[in-house]
Every structure is written in structure tokens, then in C-alpha cells.
């Protein structure tokens, strides 16, 4: 995946990535893509957590 594959730090550019999603607002599965978010000039906040069915 190139030089920014792991352990990105503040100030670095994030390589494009995609994730499958469940989107509660649509009640359906979907996909998010950083490439699309950037194309739409969106700020993005990623919120990682260990596991569903625990606190966040």
C-alpha cells in the first residue's frame, strides 16, 4: 500500500480506503470511500472502537 500503509501520524495524507457499512439513516448496507468524501469536500471524523455490544 506504499509508504503510508501503517501507523499514520498527524500531518500525513491518508491513502484512499473503502469500508463496507451499515447505515442506520438508510436502514441499509452501503460503502464509504475516502476518495468520495474528498471529492465532496467533506471533513471526515473516524471513530474507532473495539467491538459492537460494548460501550464506545
Amino acid at each position: 500500500m506504499g509508504e503510508n500503509c501503517c501507523g499514520l501520524t498527524v500531518g500525513q495524507m491518508v491513502p484512499d480506503f473503502k469500508l463496507e457499512t451499515f447505515d442506520p439513516s438508510k436502514g441499509d448496507f452501503g460503502e464509504v470511500s475516502l476518495e468520495t468524501l474528498k471529492a465532496n469536500k467533506k471533513w471526515t471524523i473516524l471513530f474507532f472502537y473495539p467491538a459492537d455490544f460494548t460501550f464506545v
Binding site: Q12, E20, T21, V32, K42, W43, I45, F47, F53
Partner: protein, 133 residues
């Protein structure tokens, strides 16, 4: 709020669906719940725990250009302060259009005191703080 929030764990989208439908406190959740079962994206951000296969509690703010501007990672047993996340996000928005300025830790909204780093300020940051808004 002006940002796309994406929550991410290594659970599948099917488990996300089940959890969101089951857990009453999640009934108003609107943001997409991302699934990273291989840990690829979690590793990219350095939050993947190889021992457990789980992602640590990491929060990252990414600019519209794709640059990471803030990062916070907590161990399993500590939750995050959403007020602090919102402060960081609002500060980023302000700084995106006020590129010559810096926002000190207590900055909350437009109109609050900012700093303009310069040779004159070296050793005299206290003077900037004395001039209240």
C-alpha cells in the same frame, strides 16, 4: 455538524445492524458504521491490536484534502470526551480560513483570542494573553 462521522470496528456490517437495532441507546444513530474485519484500515491508523484483533479507541479528524489534523488514541477502558472532539473540529474549521493564526487550548469559537506567531511574540506570549477579547 459539518463533518462526516464514521464509526469503525472489526465487526461485520451484519453485527453493526444487529447491535444498532438491539441497543436502545443507539436508536438515534445516523452515521454510517464502518466494518473493518481484516483490520486493514485500523492498521493504517495504528490502532489495530494484533493480540486481540480489535481496534483501540482512536479518533482522527481528516481535512477535505485528506490530511490527518488530529489524532487521539485511548486504551480499551477509557471513553472519549465528545465536547473535546467538537472543540478540535470547530478549531480546524476556523483555522482552515484563518491560516495565519493559531488557536490556544482555551479557544472555543470565533471572536476568542487567537495568536499570530511572529518574531515579536517570542518570549512575550503572556502579553497576547493579557489582551482580553
Amino acid at each position: 455538524m459539518g463533518a462526516e462521522v464514521i464509526t469503525i470496528s472489526t465487526d461485520t456490517k451484519f453485527v453493526h445492524l444487529a447491535w444498532q437495532r438491539e441497543e436502545k441507546t443507539l436508536k438515534d444513530v445516523k452515521y454510517p458504521m464502518g466494518s473493518d474485519p481484516t483490520g486493514k484500515v485500523s492498521r493504517m491508523f495504528g490502532v489495530y491490536d494484533e493480540e486481540t484483533g480489535l481496534a483501540l479507541r482512536g479518533t482522527f479528524i481528516i481535512s477535505p484534502e485528506g490530511r490527518i489534523l488530529n489524532s487521539e488514541v485511548n486504551y480499551y477502558n477509557m471513553g472519549r470526551n465528545i465536547d473535546e472532539l467538537m472543540r478540535k473540529f470547530k478549531t480546524n474549521l476556523y483555522l482552515a480560513t484563518h491560516t495565519e493564526e493559531g488557536c490556544p487550548s482555551k479557544w472555543k469559537e470565533e471572536g476568542d483570542k487567537t495568536l499570530k506567531p511572529s518574531a515579536k511574540m517570542v518570549g512575550k506570549v503572556y502579553e497576547a494573553y493579557e489582551v482580553k477579547k
